[in-house]
């Protein structure tokens, strides 16, 4: 079942009680099955209440769950013939981003994603999934390669942000992100982006300009992390829970704001509860997206992306303008 989060504690307590009763029944050879089934009913009702009423902060917690599946977990399960490719040909290989070629349902694709580590050692190597410019430039190289050979590109987004460091600035973190936005705008192959965990700021968007953008039910995507927003806006990062709510960062929020296309349902209790089942849900969404997008011509794909982003935003007009002349 994995590590439990604070809001899941009532479930944990009930589960423990059921386990205890089972043990007791066996030990003393008494029949308490009525009591057990009563508790089990209560447990399932409570699960429904908790998981169907997740707060924005609960979803952030799930998106950061230590056992949450990462990009490579999904690549292993959803794609076949994956061959990882390294390096940006300019500076180095950034392991905070993985990418390569593969087949999906028999069709050649390029797949690229942010890659967090599973433990401290791997996280150090992968810089906690926070890319340097060379990571974004590797992604750019691989998407241009995909374009040359006319195969769709699938991006999996999962980052706390582009790395804020001295070396990153020296090598042009801004330019690397900005360049990807421009190049993704013009790519003549289908681009599908899926937020699988955390989607923070330009560091996520740098591989996030797609024809279709989907989010896992318990992922989040925003201009800044809840902690960052709280620190910037209210000078108090402990207000992160409140910021998570105010900033409208969940999948249902982004659907409402017309920023994403589909919410990919998660396994009850979060993707980490059943990676196989979660992978199937992602696969289903990908099949649907690809079916739709592979029917478009190169030009239509670029126009489709143009229209999608051109229309994002909300604004009004003053009525009595004098106007600068």
């Amino acid at each position: 079942m994995g590590q439990r989060l604070d809001f899941e504690r009532p479930l944990q307590e009930l589960e423990d009680k059921i386990t205890e009763l089972h043990a007791f029944m066996e030990e003393k050879n008494v029949d308490l099955s009525d009591e057990v089934s009563r508790l089990q009913k209560r447990l399932s009702k409570m699960e429904g209440e908790i998981y169907e009423n997740l707060t924005a902060w609960n979803r952030v917690q799930l998106a950061r769950h230590p056992e949450r599946p990462t990009t490579s977990d999904y690549i292993d399960r959803i794609f076949e013939d994956f061959l990882e490719l390294h390096g940006d040909r300019l500076f180095g290989d950034d392991e905070a981003i993985v990418g390569g070629i593969a087949t999906f349902e028999g069709q050649p694709v390029t797949v690229i994603g942010h890659q967090r580590g599973k433990d401290t050692k791997e996280n150090l190597r992968r810089n906690f999934g926070m890319p340097h410019p060379e990571g974004y430039r590797k992604a750019l190289r691989l998407m241009k390669q995909a374009e040359k050979f006319q195969r769709p590109v699938i991006f999996l987004l999962d980052t706390k942000g582009a790395f804020p460091g001295k070396a990153a600035e020296e090598r042009g973190q801004s330019e690397a992100i900005a360049r990807n936005l421009i190049e993704m705008a013009g790519l003549t192959v289908p681009i599908i982006c899926i937020v699988i965990g955390e989607g923070a700021s330009g560091g996520a968007l740098a591989i996030g300009v797609g024809n279709h953008v989907h989010m896992l039910e318990n992922s989040w995507y925003s201009v800044i992390s809840p902690e960052g927003a709280a620190a910037l806006l209210w000078k108090d990062s402990s207000l992160a829970q409140q910021a998570a709510d105010t900033m409208k960062i969940t999948a249902p929020d982004l659907k409402e704001l017309n920023v994403i296309d589909e919410i990919i349902p998660e396994v009850r209790g979060g993707a980490h509860r059943n990676v196989e089942e979660q992978s199937k849900a992602i696969q289903t969404a990908l099949v649907k997206s690809l079916e739709e997008l592979t029917q478009l011509t190169k030009e239509e794909l670029v126009n489709h992306r143009y229209e999608k982003y051109r229309n994002i935003g909300q604004y009004g007009f003053v009525t009595d303008t004098i106007g600068l002349k």
Binding site: Y309, G316, L324
Partner: protein, 285 residues
């Protein structure tokens, strides 16, 4: 709608740039943040707001920048009437916008339009750091995108003077998506041979630095301008080391190959004119 009847913000209007200058209560003297000398404000204005003693480039408002860059009387503003809404119903956002509208006499953090530089027609966008730190929300993104599309349609170049703390927090993910919005328009413009000149002024950071500002055909900057993706304090906290004094200045970026030139404000118009001349009229005049 009934809601609109009570919407105070709709009463704001833009006013001619000359009037703005009179409205802003400027002191007779200005203290230079560069060398701490006290300068006559009138003198400062005569020298493009650059300190004659130390060369410090004082911040320019959007109207001041337009006046300093374009041929006199050539500016025609676009989309002046566009104003922000509050898409996330963010607490205090409307009040803050109203405060900055009053303070700056602008409707939003960017002024866009078209004008001429030594007779060369160009579309232009100037960000104004006095308005919500020049941050980019839906309106800034939309106005810049429309200015790019105007340049595209008219077959004229697009010039932007950036000054921005980055994406506007109060519009959340919609602000982030303005980076993508302006990018799709720039890509179209660029593919059709459009000329795009980006001039980064103090400060140009975050989501603005990480989108259109950094991908000009020409990337210029003013001396000592702060330009970067992440904030200095965040970087220091992350890597636990002190950063060099010139870190994220225009000169630092030039040294690291991120800029074509650092240009003194007194030479700005001349340089822009030279670039426009070399690229031909592109439908101008």
């Amino acid at each position: 709608m009934l809601k609109d009847l009570f919407n105070k913000k709709k009463k704001y209007a833009t006013v001619p740039s000359d009037k703005i200058k009179q409205d802003v209560p400027e002191g007779i003297m200005t203290k230079c943040p560069g060398c701490k000398s006290i300068i006559y404000t009138k003198e400062l204005e005569k020298s493009h707001k650059v300190c004659v003693k130390c060369g410090y480039h004082h911040q320019m408002s959007a109207p001041e920048r337009l006046k300093d860059t374009l041929d006199q009387g050539s500016f025609r503003e676009l989309d002046a009437e566009m104003i922000s809404e509050n898409p996330l119903s963010f607490p205090d956002y409307v009040e803050r916008l109203e405060k900055d509208q009053k303070k700056s006499s602008l409707n939003e953090a960017v002024v866009t339009g078209e004008g001429t530089i030594d007779g060369y027609r160009t579309a232009i966008a100037v960000m104004d750091a006095r308005f919500r730190m020049g941050s980019m929300g839906s309106v800034v993104g939309e106005k810049i995108t429309r200015a790019i599309e105007h340049a595209h349609k008219e077959k004229i170049p697009f010039i932007i003077f950036t000054a921005s703390g980055g994406a506007r927090m109060q519009e959340g993910v919609l602000s982030l998506m303005q980076m993508a919005k302006s990018s799709v328009a720039l890509k179209r413009f660029s593919d059709d041979g459009g000329l795009f000149i980006s001039i980064m002024t103090h400060p140009t950071t975050g989501g603005v630095s990480a989108s259109f500002a950094s991908v000009g055909d020409f990337n210029f900057a003013e001396p000592k301008a702060l330009i970067g993706f992440a904030g200095r304090r965040i970087i220091e906290q992350t890597i636990r080391e002190d950063l060099p004094e010139d870190f994220q200045t225009a000169e630092f970026l030039l040294h690291h190959g991120q800029l074509d030139r650092v240009i003194h404000r007194a030479d700005m118009k001349k340089t822009l004119s030279q670039v426009l001349m070399i690229h031909g009229n592109r439908g101008g005049e």
